[in-house]
């Protein structure tokens, strides 16, 4: 957000004050310095969060804390120098020189025969770490420099932040409630619904953007504005104008708008994806004459966990191995447009009960080769109907082991198919006990004659209905294309299957199931649609199956005498966008732990003393590598600061500043050697004392500095002649000078802005 700069220029503080406060304070008033510190602190926190976020996504390989430290150092350095006299061009030049020196240092390091001292790859590995830390430092430095120096940097930062948000949420396209993965993991950890978490994160990012705007455009934010004053160039502080009432009101409205949009988004998304109503085009409608299936798109495709099923026994006889069908509902009615739920007179093998409702029926003893199978179902998302493996004869509610996590729990007793599909070839379709009405109900054809024509074309001269059913199934596998976004244009009363079957053959399970049922019925084969879950048992563990929303499925079923309703489900060879999505095994194990035996059978802390069970505490000592990295960074910073303190005066063009900084450099050397100005002692007195004590002038710049100070920076006084070197003239033995070089005293004084 651009903001207006006033032409008001802050009165420059006196030079002695500037010397006392250091580079930052030299140009800023106390209030401004506080604002700079506050915003710099916030930027450091943002840098840390950004590094942690990036590490979570990309596995940076170096401790994110160390990289964050480098970035924060860059932020702080830029905040220090942005209000100094350095021009942007000079800053860029120095950064370039710094980078070149850094690269040169590595080239030198690589050319040294260090492999005798350490492993050949240690240097390369160290370079990789330092590179990324340096990258963080450069990022912090340049972005913060631009932030303080230009008004437009703010706009760029906000655009950057929004781009990150867009990138983060891009994975959410197509109402993928399990994406972005980071948000999904957060939702699971907090126990919130994915929709709420998504909206909360969206609102948080927007709020952060608004906060950034607020802080950065606040009247307290100073800007380093470099100007030319006569022959010299220096930096002035330009303040923002006070925010107008209208501006403040706009911000309030903006914040309220964010909350409102968040609320509306949450409401709309919750309705769209309420619980688990719709996913993969398969909803949970339970009313007769209505359909739970959607043709438009497989809205809501996601790997959000919806239920945990535990098989209580082995099911080696499963004819659909490695797949397993869990039926929730059956659609055998036809309303002229699509398949719908029929009246309770039909489909009596389907329980039609709520998950919290008990159900019991007599097993159909006419069905052959059925095997008893007990399952426990723990619902993780809202379900209107209890589902089970074909077909349940009893459903009994059991104790919910973790009401915070599971919506409901029940045990289902099924008599599941226990035969091979190849056994069906000698069977017949339909049930001889059905009355005419029932036969007519299950074979009611679609009025469009094209269905029968196509069916006849596919089956050719094959007359056995079961062989016909298999042929049609194979035809779909070979010719249809699976896609989540068929994008067919269908009139409100039009046949939604025709554009698929007689068009581009692109569709998903809902299209496949309808088309197959229509073709079967056109040949007189009793067929219906089953809906529920289709899962891959090869992803189960210990008989525990984690059902996800993208396991929701619709399939066609054919009634075979003495076998019951048997799924006929094609496996399309051409798949456009149905990526394999592996089950989260960690989550599965976590859930298995929740439904495991009670504490008295298996105490959770029974193996707490085992070495393999030691959970890393939240606060731990960093790894030695990290400690070494931090130590290296600190040493590097110390050396850099010391060099700046001692030789920084060479970098400034102005004679007055050069004199001042040179004086400071000599003072720093003396301070490191234990010679400091006493309280109340003037610089001239200090100089005299040293002269008297050592018999030589250890601070040759004192008089020039004082002249500049009392006569102004425009004084034509030439600077005092420079002694050959900082250390050469000191009357101390070499070892004491060495100790002085290693002493951090002056550097600390500089950092703490002690007066020189």
């Amino acid at each position: 957000m651009p903001h207006t700069l006033s032409s008001e220029v802050s009165p420059r503080p006196s030079y002695s004050h500037a010397l006392a406060l250091g580079a930052l304070s030299r140009a800023l008033s106390a209030d401004e310095a506080r604002a700079v510190h506050f915003i710099s602190g916030l930027r450091c926190i943002a840098a840390i969060l950004l590094c942690l976020f990036l590490d979570r996504i990309y596995d940076l390989g170096t401790s994110p804390w160390v990289i964050a430290g480098g970035t924060a150092l860059g932020v702080l350095t830029a905040s220090q120098v942005a209000f100094g006299p350095l021009s942007s061009r000079n800053a860029l030049l120095r950064i370039g020189i710094g980078v070149a020196l850094y690269r040169a240092a590595w080239m030198v390091a690589h050319s040294l025969p260090l492999e005798r001292l350490m492993s050949p790859l240690s240097i390369a590995a160290a370079e990789l770490h330092l590179n990324i830390i340096g990258l963080g430092f450069l990022f912090g430095l340049t972005s913060t420099w631009l932030f303080w120096r230009t008004t437009h940097a703010l706009t760029t930062e906000i655009i950057g932040l929004l781009l990150i948000a867009v990138g983060l949420f891009a994975a959410h396209r197509g109402l993928r409630l399990d994406q972005p993965e980071l948000v999904h993991a957060l939702a699971w950890r907090l126990g919130w619904s994915p929709v709420s978490t998504l909206v909360a994160v969206g609102v948080a990012i927007t709020a952060l953007t608004v906060l950034l705007l607020l802080i950065s455009s606040s009247p307290g934010r100073p800007l380093g504005h470099r100007s030319v004053d006569g022959a010299r160039v220096h930096t002035q502080v330009v303040r923002n104008k006070k925010r107008s009432l209208g501006g403040s009101l706009m911000l309030v409205i903006l914040s309220a708008g964010v909350l409102l949009v968040g609320y509306l988004t949450h409401t709309i998304f919750s309705r769209l994806a309420s619980g688990s109503v719709t996913a993969m085009g398969v909803g949970q409608e339970t009313k007769e004459e209505l359909s739970p299936l959607g043709f438009h798109s497989s809205l809501g495709k996601n790997s959000q966990p919806s239920a945990l099923v535990r098989l209580e026994g082995d099911y080696a006889e499963n004819p659909f191995t490695p797949m397993l069908y869990l039926r929730e509902s059956a659609l055998s009615g036809f309303n002229g447009k699509e398949m719908v739920i029929a009246s309770a007179r039909y489909d009596t093998d389907v329980n039609r009960t709520r998950p919290d409702e008990a159900f019991s029926t007599e097993p159909d003893t006419r069905l052959l080769s059925r095997t008893p199978l007990e399952q426990s179902v723990f619902l993780l998302a809202e379900h209107k109907t209890a589902f089970a493996i074909d077909f349940p004869i009893e459903i009994r509610q059991i104790k919910n082991p973790n009401p915070d996590r599971f919506n409901a729990a029940y045990k289902a007793y099924s008599v599941a198919p226990g035969f091979s599909l190849s056994d069906l070839s000698a069977d017949h379709v339909g049930d001889p006990n059905w009355d005419q009405d029932t036969v007519a109900h299950y074979t009611a054809p679609h009025p469009d004659s094209r269905y029968r024509a196509l069916a006849l074309q596919i089956v050719g001269d094959v007359s056995n209905p079961i062989a016909q059913a298999f042929l049609i199934n194979q035809w779909f596998s070979a010719n249809a294309i699976y896609t989540l976004t068929p994008g067919h244009e269908v009139a409100p009363d039009g046949d939604p299957v025709a554009p698929f079957l007689f068009g581009d053959m692109r569709g998903y399970c809902v299209h496949f199931a309808h088309a197959m049922v229509y073709l079967y019925r056109s040949l007189g084969i009793p067929a219906r649609i089953g809906t529920g879950y289709l899962t891959d048992l090869s992803q189960a563990k210990d008989g525990h199956i984690l059902l996800r929303m993208n396991d929701r499925h619709a399939w066609s079923e054919v009634y075979i005498s003495e076998r019951g309703w048997i799924p006929f489900d094609p496996q399309p060879q051409q798949v456009e966008n149905h990526g394999e999505s592996p089950v989260d095994l960690k989550l599965l194990e976590e859930l298995m732990g929740m439904i495991g035996p009670s504490e008295d059978i298996l105490p959770s802390d029974v193996a707490k003393d085992e070495a393999s069970q030691q959970i890393e505490p939240a606060l731990t000592l960093p790894e030695p590598r990290t400690i070494l990295g931090i130590a290296a960074l600190l040493i590097f910073s110390f050396v850099a600061l010391k060099l700046y303190l001692l030789y920084g005066w060479r970098l400034v063009p102005s004679p007055s500043q050069k004199t001042a900084l040179r004086y400071r450099a000599r003072q720093a050397v003396l301070l490191d050697l234990g010679l400091s100005r006493d309280l109340g002692e003037t610089r001239a007195e200090f100089d005299s004392r040293l002269k008297a004590q050592f018999g030589r002038d250890l601070l040759p710049d004192t008089s020039a500095l004082l002249r500049y100070h009392y006569q102004g920076t425009t004084s034509q006084t030439s600077p005092a002649p420079m002694a050959p070197s900082l250390f050469g003239s000191l009357p101390f033995p070499w070892w004491r000078k060495l100790l002085g070089i290693l002493s951090p005293r002056a550097t600390l004084a500089f950092l703490l802005r002690r007066p020189w």
Binding site: H110, P120, P363, K541, E580, P582, L602, V606, Q613
Partner: protein, 656 residues
């Protein structure tokens, strides 16, 4: 190097099933005898009509076990485990614990179940620990004097050591084994387990001694021999290792149906591979796969596929993976995660070498998205991460290379391609950076640099592309270090190639080309075809397109692998017919390089048929000959479409 040689998870699974089932049966039998029971309660195990779980009176038995005693349920569970019905057994055991939570035998049986059948080692450990606590409460602290109690205690220690071993707590596992011997216990499994743990702790000499002891004392001879073979291979005694594996194979084959010869066969194949005896390695892997216990193993299949890929025999590699997946499908209740990452890795490499780079990228992303379950195989997750990162990065770079020689119709297509290339380059840079970091820091100072390191899943012929980004001095020092201890002549070819790659990356083209000429001379036909491919592609990238040397090597590379030129952003020299400036200009952004001269072996022709453009690529009947033999063609509405279609047909191989 090591681990891959131990029995893969499925073999371990079956071995442990049998051993555990047998031991559990014995244990339950002993437990049963140890308790004062009413003779009337005890069913006669030889009378099928007395067995309580057979009830023909009900149409469907949902296992209503309310009437059954704890002893009956335990016996049933033991029999069900033996009968490969683990879920039924688990349900029975949980029912036992609901009745009597202090029944430590059920805890121990469940521990065995979770260890052997499920691979949920944390849960197994908890059950063992609870069983151990309950056992101690009942019998007091060890040592025990009664034989039966001692046997039970041995069983607990065995389970505890196995659980700790499976959770990589090697020191803890060794501690348990020390405790085991401290009480004077003796067991067949002891030497094999101890040797394995010592190997994991890096105490190789002790491990060899322990494995030899296992062989001499006759405790689980097959396992001990296998272990010894691995250890000898690790200590560099490859001939000794092969000899021991031969004995292991013979021993396992002598066991008939109960034997597991696939494991030593796979292991000996890896040793043959290490000494560059590919023929024998292929033979070993093929035999392992053909055996009943080997068809479900991913490692022999993966190893064989890797060997085929080194020979650029893509269809054989694909058949190997197809056959593996077909075999695994017979075991539906197994967790597919166990092998999925490795299968994606192999399939991605096949797709990439066949010119279908986008498909390769999809496979590599899937490989990285899956967690490899290694069980006791010593390979670490880092090995897979490195291999996946490198393969994905290389595929992204290959895609960029392809995009650099793709004809575009519009500016927007070109812009989109530029953006894709920038994204790919950035991602590839990051992936390679991470791979180098893991190799250098987490994989023992790049232990994978030892060519055909058995733990590694990287592609050695293209590994130089990763190494080239290291400083030459560091790489050279590390290569010298490796060469000092590696006396295999064939391995030198690879080290030369890596040096050439690094020098080429540093702009030292002349020296790099010299080294590459050496590589081309040294590379063995068939077995080193992938090395030849990489060396030719690298040298072509440094040669002046249009120079006679470029034409010769491009023809060689095209003959070796059709997709390779385009995959590396290189162009195939062609003579155009009819030649025109317009066509030459059109070919500028294509994988075809219009050239004249006798050395040019291919002719690119253009014709218009029914309003469509058709390009054909033919091979000259003889060098400099004029009669072309038609080979490929591509059609399209525009010249660019037709050219794109031709390029796809020429530089992509459909593998059936």
């Amino acid at each position: 190097m090591s681990s891959v040689k131990l029995p893969p998870s499925r073999v371990m699974f079956l071995t442990h099933s049998l051993v555990a089932g047998f031991l559990l049966f014995l244990s339950a039998f002993f437990f049963d005898l140890s308790r004062p029971v009413n003779a009337q309660e005890l069913p006669d195990p030889f009378d099928p009509f007395q067995l309580p779980f057979i009830d023909d009176t009900k149409p469907f038995d949902f296992g209503d076990d309310t009437e059954k005693s704890v002893e009956e349920l335990l016996l049933e569970a033991t029999l069900l485990l033996d009968d490969e019905r683990p879920l039924d057994a688990r349900t029975k055991l949980l029912k036992v614990l609901q009745r009597d939570p202090t029944e430590f035998r059920a805890h121990l049986l469940l521990a065995g179940y979770y260890m052997v059948h499920v691979g949920h080692f944390n849960l197994a450990l908890r059950y063992v620990k609870q069983g151990q606590n309950l056992f101690a409460e009942k019998n007091g602290p060890p040592p025990y004097l009664v034989d039966f109690t001692r046997q039970q205690h041995q069983r607990i220690l065995y389970l505890l050591s196995q659980a700790r071993l499976s959770l990589d707590d090697y020191a803890g596992a060794l501690e348990v084994l020390d405790e085991f011997t401290g009480y004077g216990y003796v067991a067949d499994w002891y030497s094999g387990s101890r040797a394995w743990i010592l190997m994991k702790l890096g105490r190789l000499d002790e491990a060899v001694q322990e494995a030899r002891r296992g062989v001499f004392t006759g405790g689980e001879v097959g396992r001990s021999l296998n272990m010894l073979g691995i250890l000898l291979s690790m200590t560099g005694d490859r001939n000794g290792s092969i000899e021991v594996f031969r004995q292991a194979i013979a021993y396992e084959l002598s066991l008939g149906r109960l034997g597991q010869p696939a494991t030593p066969l796979n292991n000996v194949g890896e040793v043959y591979e290490e000494i560059f005896n590919e023929a024998l390695a292929q033979n070993s892997y093929s035999r392992a796969i053909a055996l009943p216990d080997g068809c479900e193993h991913v490692l022999p299949s993966l190893n064989l596929a890797k060997l085929y890929l080194d020979e650029l025999n893509l269809s054989a590699a694909k058949r190997t993976m197809d056959s593996f997946e077909g075999c695994v499908a017979q075991f539906p209740l197994r967790n597919g995660e166990e092998h999925r990452a490795l299968v994606h890795l192999a399939r991605g490499r096949i797709a990439q070498l066949s010119g279908n780079v986008p498909e390769a990228i999809t496979h590599f992303r899937e490989a990285l998205a899956h967690r490899q379950w290694f069980g006791k195989i010593g390979t670490s997750q880092d090995d897979l991460r490195v291999a996946g990162n490198i393969s994905l990065a290389q595929a992204l770079l290959r895609l960029n290379d392809i995009l650099s020689v793709t004809p575009y119709r519009t500016f927007s297509e070109r812009l989109a391609a530029l953006m894709t290339r920038a994204e790919n380059r950035l991602e590839a840079w990051w992936l390679l950076r991470r791979a180098r970091q893991i190799l250098a820091e987490d994989l023992n100072g790049m232990e994978d640099l030892f060519i055909r390191h058995t733990d590694s899943m990287i592609e050695y012929p293209t590994f130089g592309e990763v190494l080239a980004r290291l400083p030459y001095s560091s790489l050279n020092a590390r290569l010298e270090q490796e060469e000092r201890r590696d006396n295999r002549a064939v391995a030198k070819t690879f080290y030369l190639l890596y040096r050439a790659e690094s020098l080429a990356a540093d702009g030292e083209d002349e020296i790099a080309l010299e080294l590459l000429s050496d590589v081309l001379k040294r590379a063995r036909p068939q077995f080193d075809d992938a090395v030849l491919l990489r060396a030719l592609a690298l040298s072509l990238s440094m040669l002046d397109p249009g120079s006679p040397q470029y034409v010769t090597r491009a023809n060689e590379l095209f003959a070796l692998s059709r997709p390779a030129l385009r995959n590396h952003g290189l162009r195939l020299p062609v003579a155009t017919h009819p030649g025109s400036e317009r066509l030459d200009s059109l070919l500028e952004q294509s994988p075809f390089l219009p050239l004249e001269g006798k050395a040019v072996q291919y002719v690119l022709g253009e014709e218009a048929i029914d309003g469509k453009i058709r390009f054909t690529l033919s091979r000259r009947s003889s060098p400099g000959g004029t009669v072309p033999r038609p080979a490929f063609q591509g059609e399209g509405d525009t010249h660019e479409d037709a050219l794109y279609s031709l390029a796809s047909n020429v530089f992509q191989i459909a593998i059936d």
